[in-house]
């Protein structure tokens, strides 16, 4: 009934929004699956069953393997990207939620929410190499670009712990606002950005001095204060822009990463949770847990271009070739 106005219009619209040759992987926390979305058509091409409560999701540095924390099965599943099916299981310690991969792809550091530890996993062997005791309910994880420092946030302790990757011990703690949920290193390794869900703020930490240098807060006209719950965070490689998912506020905050000023709020789906850039950082994908979809943000234009329905309660997102 509703058809395209003119083929010419379609062509022009297609030119206005360059299609990306990439694949998006979304972990569906309640759907117990990973949705595979084609970046060009933005259609779900496959749904891979992975196990109970998949959350943290990352691609190996070579893009061949997809790792998914399957929290209620207490493992990390390895998906062969070419075959699009689960091929291996890694020991991760109990209830893994988020994790990071060392730059060479050989190690995984996984936060064990129920066990107050970070488990170090040998990816090749699939076994745990050791554990680091951290604060209560560890969740957000980040790794410095050189792989020497691992950062974990503990939700109940409200701390960002700095772990020396070689010595496997905590070398510093930074107190941040209530319930820190996610963290990320800037590309130059000089700063750590950590979000606080209940504190409704983002702490920018000097990674060398291990001190909070800026606390960013949010104020959205027409949105109640308690709905602003920052979770996922990403900083662009050029260090110019930062994006923060604001949970039930259904917005992604765009922050000038130099001045720390919030530039705008982009409306996405309900309870926006995690974020991921594509390879050239022209697009940012968000998972929207309550509306069961992902939103696609055109980064140069700072506009939300589309929302695509995936599985039940999408949690994390990873983008590969």
């Amino acid at each position: 009934m509703r058809t395209g106005l003119l083929p010419a219009v379609t062509v022009l619209l297609a030119l206005a929004m360059p299609a990306a040759a990439e694949t998006i992987y979304v972990s569906n926390e309640k759907g117990n699956s990973v949705s595979v979305v084609d970046g060009q058509s933005l259609n779900v091409t496959k749904t891979i069953p992975v196990g109970k409560r998949p959350r943290g999701i990352l691609l190996s540095p070579d893009g061949k393997w997809l790792y998914v924390c399957v929290s209620d099965d207490h493992t990390i599943k390895v998906v062969d990207v070419a075959k699009q099916q689960v091929v291996r299981t890694l020991a991760s310690g109990p209830d893994p939620e988020q994790f990071v991969i060392s730059p060479d792809g050989s190690l995984i550091y996984a936060a064990n929410e129920d066990d107050n530890t970070v488990t170090i996993v040998d990816v090749a062997k699939g076994t745990a190499l050791g554990k680091v005791k951290v604060g209560v309910e560890p969740e957000g994880m980040a790794i410095s670009p050189d792989g020497k420092t691992v950062v974990v946030t503990s939700e109940t302790t409200s701390m960002v712990h700095f772990i020396d990757a070689t010595g496997r011990n905590i070398v510093g703690n930074v107190l941040v606002d209530n319930r820190p949920r996610a963290a990320i290193f800037t590309a130059d390794g000089k700063q750590v950005w950590a979000t606080a869900e209940i504190g409704a703020s983002v702490s920018v930490i000097d990674a060398a001095a291990r001190k909070v240098i800026k606390r960013i807060t949010f104020d959205i006209p027409g949105v109640r204060r308690d709905q602003i719950q920052p979770v996922g965070v990403r900083v662009s490689r050029d260090g110019k822009l930062a994006f923060v998912a604001l949970g039930p506020a259904n917005r992604v905050a765009v922050i000038d990463a130099h001045s720390f000023e919030v530039k705008s709020y982009l409306l996405v789906g309900q309870r926006v949770w995690q974020l991921a850039f594509n390879a050239d950082e022209t697009r940012l994908y968000t998972t929207n847990g309550v509306s069961n979809d992902i939103s696609v943000i055109d980064v140069p234009a700072l506009k939300v271009v589309k929302s695509v329905t995936v599985g039940q309660a999408p949690w994390g997102v990873a983008v590969g070739p």
Partner: protein, 267 residues
């Protein structure tokens, strides 16, 4: 003969244009009305009325983005009523007689009057869209081009409705009734302020009424066109209502059969 027709068309459009230019208040008020809705009403309701992903939108939109097509149609609705008001005024003042003694057929005069009104309403709609652009409602640029035929069609339909109503109204004072019985019900029982699926949640009957409302067809055709898409159902609906209203208006103004003469025009 064609020259006479063109001369007549030109005369009516120029007269309507002059009226438009000379009455700056009219232009400002035509613009203020939707802007009040956009700046105040939409701001107040942006948190309350969430809008889900639905065609023609590809993603979530703020409430002010949702209501812009409805407000564009509102401009045209008021414009249609305004021109019907001016016909009643012309009739009361006697300047209508000058027009009606023209040798050209009555239906042609009415269509000219209609075209003149549509020209003005399309101009008003574009000025409003320009203001909305600065308010952050920014459809794709192509949408501004695609919306032109939609605006013309919806303007014709709402103008024809105005003509039809003016054939019923004997005196200027009765115009308040038009507000109560036509403008308000048409505007509120439509998809202008809230999507139909939301209306259906509370009352399926009301949603059905909204769905057949001519004003809903206008709003949806404009909404889809603004985002580079074509809503066939709304287009056919609009065209149908246009033919119906225009035919009735022409009959209404026909001195042999019309209601106007039978009731006795004042003055």
């Amino acid at each position: 003969m064609i020259a006479a027709y063109l001369h007549c068309l030109r005369g009516i459009i120029v007269r309507e244009g002059l009226r438009f230019v000379h009455q700056r208040e009219r232009f400002v008020s035509a613009l203020v009305r939707p802007l009040v809705w956009l700046f105040i009403f939409a701001a107040g309701f942006r948190a309350v009325l969430g809008v889900s992903v639905m065609p023609p939108y590809d993603t979530y939109v703020l409430y002010e983005v949702y209501i812009v097509p409805g407000l564009v149609a509102m401009i045209q609705l008021f414009n249609g009523m305004q021109s019907s008001l001016s016909i009643v005024y012309d009739r009361e003042m006697g300047s209508m007689k000058t027009l009606l003694i023209s040798p050209l057929p009555r239906w042609y005069l009415l269509v000219c009057k209609l075209l003149a009104g549509v020209t003005v309403s399309v101009l008003q709609a574009y000025v409003f869209l320009a203001v909305a652009w600065f308010w952050g409602v920014q459809p794709p640029l192509l949408g501004y081009l695609a919306v032109l035929p939609a605006l013309i069609l919806s303007g014709l339909m709402l103008g024809a409705l105005g003509l039809l109503l003016s054939s019923f109204i004997k005196q200027l004072e009765n115009f308040a009734g038009v507000m109560n019985f036509v403008i308000f019900p048409m505007f509120f029982a439509s998809s202008a302020l809230y999507p139909l699926w939301r209306v259906r949640e509370s009352s399926p009957l009301l949603a059905d009424i909204c769905a057949v409302n001519p004003f809903t067809q206008a709003v949806e055709l404009i909404r889809f066109a603004l985002y580079g898409q074509f809503d066939l159902v709304a287009c056919l609906g609009l065209a149908g209502y246009l033919v119906l209203f225009l035919a009735c208006a022409i009959i209404g103004y026909d001195p042999a059969r019309g209601l106007m003469e039978r009731r006795g025009a004042p003055g």
